[in-house]
Every structure is written in C-alpha cells, then in structure tokens.
C-alpha cells in the first residue's frame, strides 16, 4: 500500500483488541450523571447572583403579602381551613413552591448559556449518555432548590409561621418542592432547546410563572376565588404542590382539588398531590429527554 506510515503507526494506538478496533473512551451512566452534577454545582457556586435573585422575588412576596394582606386574608383563611391559622403559616408553603418555580426558570437559562458558549455542542460530541447529562444538571438544580426552600422555611418561622409536623415536615416540604420543580425544570429546558434563545426562554418561562401562581390555591383559599380561577386551578400543578406542602405545614388534609380517604388525615392531602406531581414531572421529563436525545448542531433535511 502507498501509506506505510499510516499502517505502521496504526498499531500503536489501536488499543488492546489487536489492531482492528480503535480505543474507545467513556463512562458508566452514573459516572456521566456525576460529572454533570459536579459541573452545574460549581457553576452555581461561582454565580451566587443567580442564587440570590431566584430567592429575592419569593422573599419579597413573603414579606409584602404577609404585611399587606395579612389582616384581610387572615379572615378568609380561617374561614376556609376552620382553624386559627396565621396568614404566615398559610403562605409559607406557597412561597416554597414559588421558589421551586423561580429556580426552575433559571435551569433553562443555564442551558441556553451552554448553547451560546458552545458547551452544549461540546457535550453532544462526548460519549456521555444524554439522559445522564440532563439528570446530572437537574440533580444539581434540585439540590439548590432544596436548600433555598430550607432558607424560606427558616425565614417563615422567623416571621411567625408554624410548621406543625416539625422536622419531618420540613424534609417533606423540601421533597415535595423538589418533586414539583421537575416539570418546570423540564419545561424550561425544553423551551431552551427549542428556541435556543435566551430572551425567549426567560420570557416564556417567566410569563407563565405569575399566572401559574395566582391562578392556584397559593395565596388564598380556592373557595374565595371566582369560578373560572377554580376551574383553572384544578388543572394547575401549582395547586397540587401547594396543597400537598400546606397539608404538611398544617398537619391536616387541605388538598382542595382531589378528595381521597386512603389514609387518616394529613396523608390524604399529601399523597394524591405527590402522585399527580410525579406523573406531570415524568411526562415533561420524558419530553425534555426526548428533545435532548435528538438534539444536534442544526436541523437538517
């Protein structure tokens, strides 16, 4: 052959399999998840601004709502829940869900940044499993959300809220917040892959944030709201997240949109919410993983 050089040197890199196979490099699935989990955590720490900003709005809501609406809303809340519950206690679970929502918006923004600085393509040419890439990134964000919810709960207690279920309740609320965030994380990442554009992703995800929050049981009991809002709230994942966390907060079943009596008391409010959120999270997650797995550099014919 006319390429003695190529033939001679081919042996050297051809790896252990005897010259026919080339050396292949790659990780296990768990290894891929871990690599991405680490990268996104480092980025979060490097970027405390994002951490603060996604907490700022929920904190402002917490303080303003309790101070401005506290007296008025307190009555409505008492009427609906039947106990003497402060508006702080009523509101804190909703703010926890808001934190999850706000943090999920930044998830898509992170992906758009990756697309813009070339890291997305760089990751696409690695042998890393696409689902693992998404899981690792999501795990890092969810980890951050759990911490942020912890901060909000602490702040809420300082403002006078009471967590009737104590420490297990705190962990439960974090868990539900994380579970709730999944569908919106998946949604904002899907938006990022589809639009590949920072503005569209921020606007798309942010625009949805407020209607979702207000057209739910987050700030006032559903019974006090107009009929069309009640109808929308039934379809709104925020309602399920808020009602489930609130049930834990108050240690009673305050789930307003599904009635079950599988258990005694509180769990009847928590379990159906968790089930619904898991279903929604899985569906949206599947869409995001699908989009990511067929993502390429550009669309071709």
């Amino acid at each position: 052959m006319s390429t003695p050089d190529a033939d001679g040197s081919a042996e050297e890199y051809a790896g252990a399999t005897g010259g026919e196979e080339v050396t292949r490099s790659g990780n296990s699935f768990a290894g891929d998840v871990w690599v991405n989990f680490k990268r996104w955590n480092v980025k979060a720490v490097r970027n405390p601004f994002v951490l603060v900003v996604s907490l700022a709005q929920p904190i402002i809501f917490l303080v303003l709502f309790t101070q401005v609406f506290g007296n008025v809303a307190g009555g409505a809340v008492e009427g609906a829940t039947g106990g003497d519950i402060s508006y702080e206690t009523y509101l804190v679970p909703a703010i926890a869900i808001q934190v999850a929502l706000a943090a999920a918006v930044t998830s898509g923004i992170g992906l758009v940044n990756d697309i813009e600085n070339g890291m997305f393509e760089k990751v696409l040419v690695t042998p890393m499993n696409r689902t693992a890439v998404f899981l690792g990134k999501t795990a890092a964000e969810v980890f951050r959300i759990a911490i942020q919810i912890g901060i909000i709960l602490g702040l809420g207690v300082l403002l006078g809220a009471e967590i009737a279920t104590g420490l297990p309740g705190v962990i439960g609320i974090m868990g539900i917040g994380v579970l709730f965030s999944l569908w919106f994380v998946a949604f904002s990442n899907s938006l990022a892959i589809l639009t590949r554009d920072q503005e569209s992703t921020i606007i798309g995800a942010n625009l949805l944030q407020f209607p979702l929050l207000f057209l739910s049981s987050a700030f006032l009991p559903l019974a006090t709201l107009p009929g069309w809002i009640q109808t929308f709230a039934r379809l709104n994942p925020v309602t399920y997240g808020v009602d489930a966390t609130r049930s834990l907060m108050l240690d009673e079943n305050v789930m307003t949109v599904i009635e079950v009596s599988w258990f005694d008391g509180t769990l009847n409010g928590v379990v159906p919410g968790v089930a619904v959120l898991a279903g929604i999270g899985l569906s949206f997650g599947a869409i995001a993983v699908y989009l990511l797995s067929r993502a390429s550099s550009s669309d071709v014919k």
């Binding site: 390429t3 190529a6 490099s25 990268r39 600085n117 070339g118 393509e121 040419v125």
Partner: protein, 357 residues
C-alpha cells in the same frame, strides 16, 4: 511523513482480482474516515455539501481546505455526529455515522471552529471536565491535566475562570480540552486561528507529535503554510464539492511550472495593462496570469525561459518594472488557481479575470 496519498483504495500493483478486493476491504476497515456520496442539506434548504467522497487512512495528517462557506465545518460536523447526513454513507473509525453515533463519539476528539469552553469554570476545571466526560481513569487525570495546561501555556492561570481569558487563551484552552482523552482521531476546525506565532508553533509541534504516535488528524485551516508544513494529504472543497486532492507537492505540481512575480511601479491602470500584455504574450498562452498586491504574477511551465522577454515587452509598453523573481508554486498559488474564479466574482466585481486557466 511524505505520503503520495491517492483516494482510490485499490493497490495498482496487485493484479489478481481476489487479492485486490481483499486489500480494498482491509483498507476500508482500517480507514479512519470513509465517505461515499455525502450530501448535507440544512432544513432551510441550503445544500452545504454535495457528493463528497473521501477516504482518510488511519494515522494520516489530513488537511481540508476551502474558501469561507465552502462546507468544511458542515462536513466535520457530520463526521463528529453533530449533523446527520442527508444522504450518502459515512464511516468514522469503522462506525456508521447514522446508527453508531455513540461509538464514534467514544473514538474521536473535536475542536469546534467557534471557541467552546465554559467561562464560569477555571482553565483546570475545563480540562478536568473533558477528562471526566470521556472517562479518563481518575488515576491519570491529574497528570493529563497538568500536561495539557503546560502544553497550551496556561499553567500559571490554571485557577482563573476562563471568562477572564483573552480570545487566544480561550482558543488554547479549547484545544487542550479536545485532546484530553487522547482520541485516535481528532477533528480540528481552524484550531490556530487567532493564536500568536508562539502558541501556534507549540500546537503544531504537538499535533505532529501525536500524529507520529498514531493519531489521525483531520484539520481545516486558512493558513496554507500550516497545511503545507503539517499535512500528508490535502483536499480542497469548493461549494460543497471536493475539487482537488493529493499531497501538498502533488497539488503544487498540478499547478505546473513556476511562478514569475513582477513588481511594477504604481499608477492608474498599470496592473490591468500589464495583465493584458502578459496574456497576449505568445509564449504564455497557457499561463495563469493574475494581479497581485504590487504587480502581476504569471504561472507557467516556461516562466523561466521567457520571463525576461516579458519584462522587455512590459518596458517597451512604458511600464516600469521595479522587481521580479521566479519561484516554485506555493499552496497559495494552488488555492488561487482552484478557487480563483470564485474570488474574482466575490471580491472584484469590475470584471477582472485574475487567475483562470
């Protein structure tokens, strides 16, 4: 290093049919890249690559040249599984670019034309991420990272976030990350654009070294000198078609003859007149005549023989020759001869012919 590469896989010295076929199959299996009829059309209808046939044997240092927008990056992205071919058969390291994308990804390195690094991570973390993403064993990582940091001369700023780097430093970091896992085949899309001469030389040395160790390198560049020095074999792509391929020397030989460069005193229409005179010069009927920065250049088999006659003719026409020399063609001449018409229509709408053969 010198390879008189030919695209055909059959060995002309082998006569027997059976032997011939066996060697063909063998070399296809052993090829780093084997492409048959590649076509790529973007979803907006742009056909960026059409009918590309190419075989790059393992261990070759292959250069892929072409003017802006010719389809180099598009072709590389197909090989790197970032784009799925519209039609044609593409094998990279023996794996199919449609159905075995993951296996291809496990066996290649890719450095994109656009610098791709994570600005929030430090230089060291960027390289470490690349090592981890490709499963470089944890025991080897520290050594690999520090070796690459010093290769690209970033050891001093290893702990600085990449967003603080200059453009060239980012590019160097990007190069390091593409090589982190020592892949048997590396795609380098204009890896040295924007680098200072020192950094460029270091990378050249490194590319040659890993090539000597057996790494196949697929390089695009606009620096033809770089291609000349590094590559065993070149292909030139133009409007999505491969229009020439061979070793740098082959290509230069194809241009034919020698280049007579003539410098002229500046003045209105001087170069145009000189070009006309050279074209009408009988001995240079088959020559390529083109305008240069400060005069004209004539490429011809008989440039040496009749060069002085042309100089006399120019003087007789009242043009002042301020200098001239005769040299062997460079890759620049090759490139201009191949893409000359292109450049004319794109950059000189006034209808100057320039290089045309």
């Amino acid at each position: 290093m010198s390879q008189q590469g030919s695209r055909t896989t059959a060995d002309p010295s082998v006569d027997g049919d059976g032997v011939n076929r066996a060697s063909e199959r063998d070399s296809t299996e052993r090829a780093a890249i084997d492409v048959d009829g590649l076509e790529l059309t973007y979803s907006d209808g742009t056909t960026a690559v059409q009918g590309v046939d190419l075989t790059v044997p393992r261990g070759e240092f292959f250069g892929f040249l072409g003017p802006n927008g010719a389809g180099k990056t598009t072709t590389i992205k197909v090989f790197a599984t970032l784009l799925s071919p519209t039609s044609g058969d593409v094998q990279v390291n023996g794996f199919d670019a449609r159905s075995e994308t993951r296996k291809i990804r496990e066996t290649i390195g890719y450095m994109a034309q656009e610098t791709s690094i994570d600005p929030e991570l430090t230089a060291e973390e960027n390289i470490r991420f690349a090592c981890e993403a490709y499963g470089v064993p944890s025991g080897e990582r520290a050594e690999r990272v520090s070796e690459l940091l010093s290769l690209v001369d970033l050891a001093d700023v290893a702990d600085k976030q990449a967003e603080e780097f200059s453009g060239g430093m980012k590019k160097r970091l990007d190069a390091a990350t593409a090589l982190a896992h020592r892949p048997p085949l590396v795609f380098l899309d204009e890896p040295t654009t924007g680098l200072d001469p020192k950094a460029r030389n270091r990378l050249w040395e490194y590319f040659l070294r890993i090539n000597d160790l057996g790494t196949t390198i697929f390089l695009t560049t606009q620096y033809l000198e770089e291609a000349d020095q590094l590559c065993d074999r070149l292909a030139v792509i133009l409007d999505g078609n491969i229009v020439a391929d061979g070793s740098p020397d082959d290509l230069k030989r194809e241009v034919g003859g020698e280049v007579l460069a003539i410098e002229l005193e500046r003045g209105d229409g001087v170069r145009e007149r000189a070009t006309t005179i050279a074209r009408e010069f009988d001995a240079f009927a088959d020559a390529t005549v083109s305008e240069t920065e400060d005069g004209i250049s004539v490429t011809s088999e008989v440039a040496r023989q009749y060069g002085t006659d042309l100089l006399v003719a120019l003087r007789d026409a009242g043009l002042t020759v301020t200098g001239f020399n005769i040299r062997a063609p460079t890759l620049d001449d090759v490139f201009l001869a191949i893409t000359g018409d292109e450049i004319d229509t794109a950059e000189m709408p006034d209808g100057d012919r320039g290089a045309s053969q």
